[in-house]
Symmetry: C2
Subunit: 352 residues, 2 copies
């Protein structure tokens, strides 16, 4: 079969890790007799430099037409340290989410046996953990009205949610739970926020349609603690845009390495796959960044296209690289030698 | 000397742990020849039941006149499960913070040697950790305008900050850092939010007045991860109301037990001291709740009154109870017998 894949390498280590994911996809294409047509597109800091726009029209077009989107990372330290810059790389990603209505961000986290030793958490706390966070991605305080007073001394961000925005992702979360441990934990701050109350009300109502799934409520502050104290007690976590941003990164510590986590951002017509990690600018161009998260994004992408066996082939190759300690610096543990980014990519492509 | 202390036991285990703190204060009064006059006041669910109001006028009056406030906890599961109840215990606490302008919430977290084994984090990660979180407490999305549409299908919460609200707590954070490891980490989401940009701008400006303190910037998602991965790299953390709520609870896992953490909420004219933990309703009235956080709040209160030796006496008594394993169920570890709430309180009072 023939598939068109939009590829957005982005900034920092984005390009180099995305290249390894493409190697893995090429290997899959060869073995399983598919054709993957890559359409490269710009977004982020590199797009601002090239076009003045963090999300050129062309990129939106390419993404809309593609069967799926493979994304690296965006951002640049020069923007972080200067909040006065009004055009920013992140706007590209936020706008893409909105344009394609990628409302559901799915973040799976597992404790990889080979990496448990790298986690700051004790083995007995994390062993067997299997959580997936459903983060709402196109509304909330990220997309509400924003304002700064003329004298620059007052600022506002509006968090807004409507019932439909909550219910469409809630249904996806409950459906996922049905195929898992049958539990959904809704994280909110409904003892303080009106939007959280709406989440609680809406999700409680929807839960009635999924009788075999248990719904648990948890305040965000308590959740920040419980996700670390008792990660095994979670199955599917459902939450809003801002809380989801925080908790997806928090639970990454369970996996033993953020260098292995990838996530998907799903809409009704499009889907984007990317590492959870960011641009890691210090490592840019040094061929030392861990490509596994990007390679595993490619596996998620294949799964999304219905190519389950193919996705599995990538996952097995990743497992093998861990077993054989063919890994980058960040997860090499007591290993004497670390492999380079491209070396890991080559191994995985060969193994497939 | 004579001091008036407003005591708000609140709900759940609030009353029983606060009683132990009073025992400790009484012991201090005897040994150091002070008089502590307790003025009991109602707030939370118990106040709603007694008066229909989560924060009766009388309570505000008592608090305003007191030299300091000792608070337990508020909340009740019946409100948590019914977001439609419009009068809620939490409103009492939020209103008290606002009425007394308690804008600065200080949350210290240390890894207690005796409790390191109870932490889900590995010893080498947390040993030596000493963080204090400065959370803004009277503004942000907690106190911004809130709205629900007539049909109940849309909800809004406004996050708002002005320069003055940021700068007054920032100064306190920098001053604290000067007496510590000389580092302030500002946590925000300034790559997305206007209020966060205002925080970053304002705090960066103020930092120039504290040349011997280093200012570090961190996005909230990244911070959620780093606080667990590298807790020792933090000193003073400065952040807004909502982020501070989440991160104060998150870092509690470092201490090995939330049952030992207390925090102060400071304004220009008043100060309130309380455990970080909540009402723990399941344990209410069972004499099993850990009173140490409340007892340590009393120590913080004495420190605030300038009674440093007295505060130290309480802290040493708490250390002793840990050394001798005279502790409640939750932190007894491999100990065969747990002490009751009142037993721990008695021991500490006797030791003082
Ligand atoms: C880059 C940034 C805007 C983004 C977000 O906060 O959503 C990132 O942290 C993420 O989680 O994908
Ligand atoms: C009870 C609740 C409103 C409160 C808050 O969120 O501020 C509590 O969690 C706290 O941190 O003191």
């Amino acid at each position: 079969m023939k598939y068109t894949i939009a590829v957005i390498p982005g900034d920092g280590i984005g390009p180099e890790v995305t290249n390894q994911a493409k190697k893995a996809l090429d290997a899959v294409a060869e073995v399983y007799d598919h054709i993957f047509l890559y359409e490269e597109a710009q977004m982020g800091s590199c797009a601002i430099e090239a076009t003045g726009n963090p999300l050129p029209e062309k990129t939106i077009e390419i993404c809309k037409k593609a069967d799926a989107i493979l994304f690296g990372a965006i951002g640049d330290p020069k923007y972080d340290n200067d909040p006065s810059l009004r055009i920013r790389p992140e706007q590209g990603l936020l706008k893409l989410r909105k344009e394609l209505d990628l409302f559901c961000n799915v973040n799976p986290v597992k404790a990889y046996d080979q990496l448990i030793k790298n986690s700051p958490l004790k083995r007995e706390i994390i062993k067997g953990t299997d959580i997936v966070i459903f983060r709402e991605l196109t509304s909330g305080i990220y997309f509400g009205k924003k304002e700064v007073s003329k004298d620059g001394k007052n600022a506002f961000d509006v968090c807004s949610y409507c019932e439909d925005e909550i219910s469409r992702i809630a249904h996806l979360a409950f459906k996922a739970a049905q195929g898992r441990k049958k539990k959904v934990t809704l994280i909110d701050k409904s003892n303080v926020l009106e939007t959280s109350k709406l989440w609680r009300k809406t999700v409680t109502e929807i839960a009635k349609q999924y009788k075999n799934v248990a719904l648990e409520h948890m305040y965000a502050d308590n959740a920040a603690m419980k996700l670390i104290l008792k990660p095994k007690s979670f199955d599917v976590v459902l939450t809003d845009n801002l809380f989801g941003d925080i908790f997806s990164d928090e639970v990454s510590v369970i996996s033993g390495s953020i260098g292995l986590l990838s996530s998907s951002s799903i809409g009704n017509n499009n889907a984007l796959f990317a590492p959870v990690h960011g641009t890691f600018s210090e490592a840019k161009g040094k061929d030392i960044a861990n490509p596994l998260a990007s390679i595993l994004s490619a596996a998620m992408l294949l799964e999304h296209l219905g190519l389950l066996e193919e996705a599995d082939a990538i996952e097995r190759a990743v497992e093998k690289s861990l077993d054989l300690n063919i890994t980058t610096e960040d997860i090499k543990g007591k290993n004497k030698y670390a492999a380079s980014t491209s070396k890991v990519g080559d191994f995985i492509a060969d193994y497939i």
